[in-house]
């Protein structure tokens, strides 16, 4: 055992270890803290368990859910904990024989007077210690926790179950070790071991149901460890021994394999020997960026093949030497998946190079981000200009442009080149997108199409690209509507017009090209009397209005605003702020066509509420975004929030108590003249682990049933509704949190004292407590009469 190496291994991974430990402790704490309520509601629990199909009960060992042992097996030991331990074992196992080798640091370690066997055994010891240590943490936490919540499970059983779980981690970790030792590649080790683990898990889970799997199960490491039901039966020595033997055998095999392996050189992407035999293709990076001093390319990129071990150009450009303007030095990032940049120095300033420092980054492959860092590192050392080259494949917002976006962050110039076989029609689209992508961070953007630059950002644009300040941002507007111009115009263009004597603003903002044109068209279309801004000489014609509708923000005369938002959240925010600033109180702001992430929609809505907290009224999101919004669990994004000057939020689960709460809220709303948001929150019952989703009721089913519940509630309370304005909101998420976030800025939050008996009641009961403790507005808890 090599103590210095052992110590270093732990030190290097101390954060990861701490993370796992915290995770395990937290998981147990959460599950155990729920246990008393489960125990107290045993009847409900049994009913609930029986409501699940038999398949399910078997799979998750739900038969005795109400008992301590049943609860622990279902919640922790049937799937969650084994998966955690397998994850730990596999991630550690995968790196044992690979990471130092892949990083190249083994070059020194393995040439020290230590045998390879000792090296790898030491690292194995680290892995075993981590997995078993985590098992110990598990056992101790469970032991303490079970005493705290009074669980009456013998300590020996808990220890046995923890041991079996840790053993599962070891067994599958050993698979990773062996694959790593054989292949020398960490990714391969991870992939194979995880695949094996998943297969084993599937066999183990389905064994009670499928005969074939049942027949296989005795040979399944999962069965030897997790499957022995140590909680019920205590330690099974035989099975433990089998699992230990399995792990040990694999580890021994791994040690031997590692001892026999060749430790190949790290570093060069293309071995020099191979480089000579590679077909020398004209790499776009090398040929299309001839006048730069240094070229950073990503491994896996097109330019890779043009670089040999010393960072010298080979191939096309080198052959044409002495071409005075060929890149002189190249930097390659040879470490896929590692942050370290071995060749960063290749981009350093050389004495005498001061005059002209161009660094190009060619983003051909996936690791563009690292190339960007590479280039950024070079820039950081001088006054280099970074020029980025990206290929687009003519499919618009495809990979090429995503890469462009990344590269544009640090680049001074961005060139987008159509890939050779990409459809030509895509070029123009790609051009627009790329220009949009680069709109702010880049001084110049060039997009190539059939050898011609079709769009660039300075001045004119064939593709309809506006100057940084679009036509709408005129001086007089600036004086009259400083806020809008401040927030919209600098990013894009704002066009506006007057409509029926009231302000109508068509602010167009977004990363898309043709903004100015869109704005004009929109202004013209929506505002009968919209003023058209005179175009500045030299500005290109507006783009066609094929995608106009998707990018226009219109504040209608009556104060209703509709925002059809572009993709980019950041820009969207500006537009939303602008819109919100100009909406009349009590009006509606609709945000539609949110393409992209829920975070954008959320952020946008936040922007709007920040500007005019009382105004944002109605948020519409299209289906795609809605789905992601739901995923993000932002309750208030989901539905319609029609907001008056006063707002009351009431949560309901359909129970009698909550009906009373709703009735009370409606009456209160009537008295106060407030709008009432009736919210029904649903979520998966927490007893289910997120596995075998295929057989579970789908989100859509659950959501539909949640909507029925709410509809039913509204039907029942219809008599109390009066003239109160009501929003019906169904949302998914943790109940209390959803209610709390919905009640932000509200005048009152109303909840029922306790909902259903049984399981749901358990949940809602705690909701009332949480809400009372954390709400930022007054809370009324209503009980049934």
């Amino acid at each position: 055992m090599l103590l210095p190496l052992l110590a270093k291994t732990f030190r290097d991974h101390v954060r990861g270890i701490a993370g796992w430990v915290t995770g395990v402790v937290a998981l147990i704490a959460v599950q155990l803290s729920v246990y008393p309520t489960v125990r107290d509601a045993t009847s409900g629990m049994s009913d609930l368990a029986e409501a699940f199909p038999e398949v399910f009960r078997k799979m998750f060992r739900m038969e005795e859910y109400g008992t301590a042992i049943g609860y622990l097996s279902t919640e922790l030991f049937s799937a969650t904990l084994p998966l955690i331990f397998i994850a730990v074992g596999v991630t550690w196992g995968a790196r044992i024989a690979t990471d130092e080798v892949e990083a190249g640091t083994a070059d020194v370690l393995l040439t020290l007077p230590i045998s390879r066997i000792r090296f790898v055994v030491t690292r194995l010891a680290a892995m075993v210690a981590v997995v078993l240590g985590l098992g110990l943490v598990l056992g101790v936490t469970l032991g303490i926790g079970s005493m705290v919540v009074d669980m009456s499970v013998p300590m020996a059983r808990l220890a046995a179950a923890s041991w079996a779980t840790a053993l599962a981690g070891l067994a599958f970790g050993a698979v990773a070790v062996l694959v790593g030792a054989l292949s020398g590649r960490r990714s391969m080790a991870l992939g194979v071991a995880l695949a094996v683990a998943i297969a084993a898990f599937v066999v183990y889970s389905l064994a009670p149901l499928v005969d074939a799997m049942d027949a296989m199960n005795p040979y399944n490491p999962m069965q030897w460890t997790v499957g022995v039901e140590s909680l019920k039966d205590g330690l099974h020595v035989g099975q433990s021994a089998i699992a230990l033997g399995f792990a040990a055998a694999l580890m021994v095999a791994a040690v031997l394999a590692f001892d026999r392996r060749d430790v190949l050189t790290c570093g060069p992407v293309v071995a020099p020997r191979a480089a000579r035999h590679l077909p020398v293709a004209a790499s776009p990076a090398a040929t299309q960026l001839p006048d730069v001093d240094a070229l950073a390319v990503a491994r896996g990129g097109d330019a890779e093949r043009d670089v040999d071990s010393d960072g010298e150009l080979v191939g096309q450009v080198a052959r044409h030497e002495p071409a005075p303007d060929a890149p002189r030095r190249l930097g390659v990032d040879p470490h896929r998946g590692r942050r370290r940049l071995v060749r960063r120095d290749a981009l350093r300033h050389e004495p005498g190079d001061q005059s002209r420092q161009h660094v190009a980054c060619a983003g051909g492959g996936e690791p563009v981000r690292r190339v960007r860092h590479l280039a950024a590192a070079a820039v950081g050392r001088g006054d280099a200009r970074v020029r980025a080259l990206v290929h687009h494949d003519g499919v618009g917002q495809g990979g090429g442009l995503a890469r462009a976006e990344v590269l544009a962050e640090d680049a001074d110039e961005l060139a987008v080149v159509r890939r050779q076989h990409a459809p030509r029609s895509g070029a123009v689209h790609g051009a627009r997108e790329a220009v949009g992508v680069a709109a702010e961070d880049v001084e110049r953007v060039g997009v190539e199409h059939d050898g011609q630059v079709v769009a660039h950002r300075q001045g004119v644009a064939h593709a309809g690209v506006g100057a940084p300040r679009g036509a709408g941002a005129r001086a007089d507007d600036h004086a009259r509507h400083p806020r809008v111009l401040e927030q919209v115009a600098p990013r894009g263009a704002g066009a506006h017009g007057a409509h029926e004597g009231r302000l109508e603003r068509a602010g167009v903002d977004g990363p898309g090209p043709g903004r100015r044109g869109d704005g004009h068209d929109a202004g013209a279309r929506t505002g009968g009397g919209a003023r058209r801004e005179p175009r500045r000489p030299g500005e290109g014609p507006p783009a066609g209005d094929d995608d106009v509708a998707a990018r226009v923000l219109v504040v209608r005369g009556r104060g209703h605003a509709q925002l059809a938002a572009p993709e980019c959240g950041r820009v969207l925010h500006g537009a939303v702020r602008a819109a919100a600033a100009h909406v009349v109180d009590g009006a509606q702001l609709q945000v539609g066509h949110l393409i992209g992430h829920a975070a954008h929609a959320t952020g946008a809505t936040r922007c709007a509420t920040a500007v005019r907290p009382r105004v944002v009224t109605r948020i519409l999101v299209d289906r795609d975004t809605r789905r992601s919004a739901v995923r993000a669990r932002h309750a208030w994004l989901r539905g319609v929030i029609t907001q008056g000057a006063h707002r009351i939020i009431v949560g309901t689960d359909g129970s009698e108590n909550s009906l009373s709460a709703v009735r009370w809220a409606l009456r209160e709303g009537g008295l106060r003249g407030a709008t009432v948001d009736v919210i029904h929150v649903w979520d998966y019952p927490p007893i289910l682990d997120p596995v075998a989703l295929g057989t579970l009721p789908t989100n859509a089913d659950l959501e539909a049933s949640a909507e029925r519940v709410l509809k039913e509630v509204m039907r029942k309370v219809d008599a109390d509704r009066g003239k109160t304005v009501v929003n019906q909101i169904v949302t998914r998420g943790p109940t209390a949190q959803s209610l709390l976030s919905a009640s932000r800025g509200a005048d009152l939050l109303v909840v029922g004292r306790r909902g259903h008996g049984g399981f749901l009641g358990v949940l809602l009961g705690s909701v009332a407590t949480q809400v009372v403790n954390h709400a930022q507005c007054p809370v009324v808890v209503v009980g049934a009469h």
């Binding site: 393995l110 007077p113 026999r260 060749d262 430790v263 790290c266 060069p268 020099p272 120095d345 350093r348």
Partner: protein, 324 residues
């Protein structure tokens, strides 16, 4: 064995071999890394391993260290087979990898102490003195170092335990000229101490300054092993001779070792292999006014070696390798 004795006595006869490479072949799948290489490094000498990129220099060094396993053949160091006695042997070896990867998070001091600890040695004083010698601040984080400075760390790492055999893979790459000189003086001192050094490089001048003998690799084969002086004389130099008037090339063409004789106006160019005495005598006889000799460039030398008769391997191609 002292340096003087070594040089005076001729290395071949006196000094016992420290590294012996017997018919070593290394295959990677179907690619050949090195093919049937045989040579030795003798005690107290500096052997320069020359060759273009990809010629198998690094492969050879890594085979000696046991990082790679030979497909065929045998390597012995200090008289013991590398395959059997790797760890024991390596305690007496210092290795400087061609592309040293370090732990970015550690400081120089931490790294060197870590390596020393794995060697089970306390090398604080020698680390400190070497760091000082190379102007290396041991408290700096390795991730912040430039390439040249990292290379200094590599040098310290290889020399700090005063090994008897040093395997240096392109040791001066990334070092600036001043540090290179310091490095060369360190190598000289090490040799005087009696250590043996195998130094791979593709820079002829460096090898010429330091090495006693040179082994030239190309495409995995050993092309030449020879004394530096002998090697130099074996390569053609191009010599331009200026004469006061136009000159007849024929007498020059007749000389031994002279070829490629061209005359343009009053300048005669030729290539010379071996001693230049006859050529100069002839030139003086014809009233030469200027002599320009062009040292052979590395490219030239490799070109010559490649053009020349193959030095190795002699036998038929190796049979397919045994599975590793």
């Amino acid at each position: 064995m002292s340096d003087a004795a070594h040089r005076a006595g001729g290395a071949a006869v006196v000094a016992p071999p420290i590294v012996e490479v017997h018919g070593v072949t290394k295959r990677y799948g179907h690619d050949i890394g090195v093919a049937d290489v045989t040579f030795d490094v003798r005690e107290g000498e500096i052997l320069g391993l020359l060759g273009p990129n990809g010629s198998g220099k690094t492969t050879l060094l890594r085979l000696m260290l046991g990082l790679l396993h030979v497909t065929r053949g045998r390597i012995t160091i200090f008289g013991r087979d590398v395959a059997d006695a790797g760890p024991t042997l390596r305690s007496r070896i210092g290795y400087l990898p061609g592309d040293l990867a370090l732990y970015d998070q550690q400081t120089v001091w931490q790294y060197l102490r870590f390596v020393a600890a794995l060697r089970r040695m306390d090398l604080r004083s020698s680390i400190a003195s070497l760091c000082e010698r190379f102007g290396l601040d041991p408290t700096r984080r390795i991730g912040d170092l430039s390439r040249g400075t990292r290379q200094k760390v590599a040098v310290v790492q290889a020399f700090m335990h005063a090994p008897d055999l040093l395997l240096l893979d392109e040791p001066t790459s990334g070092l600036d000229p001043i540090v290179q000189r310091e490095f060369e003086s360190l190598v000289d001192e090490t040799r005087l101490r009696g250590a043996t050094i195998l130094l791979s490089s593709h820079i002829l001048a460096e090898v010429e300054r330091l090495a006693d003998r040179v082994a030239v690799m190309r495409e995995g084969c050993l092309a030449v092993v020879d004394d530096v002086a002998m090697l130099k004389s074996r390569f053609r130099r191009t010599i331009d001779l200026e004469f006061p008037s136009s000159v007849d090339p024929e007498p020059f063409r007749a000389l031994d070792g002279v070829s490629d004789v061209h005359v343009s106006r009053r300048t005669l160019s030729c290539s010379v292999v071996g001693p230049e005495t006859a050529l100069l005598r002839e030139a003086v006889a014809r009233g030469v006014v200027g002599v320009h000799a062009h040292a052979p460039s590395l490219d030239d030398i490799f070109q010559r070696i490649i053009d020349g008769p193959p030095a190795a391997p002699a036998g038929p191609p190796a049979p397919p390798p045994a599975p590793r």
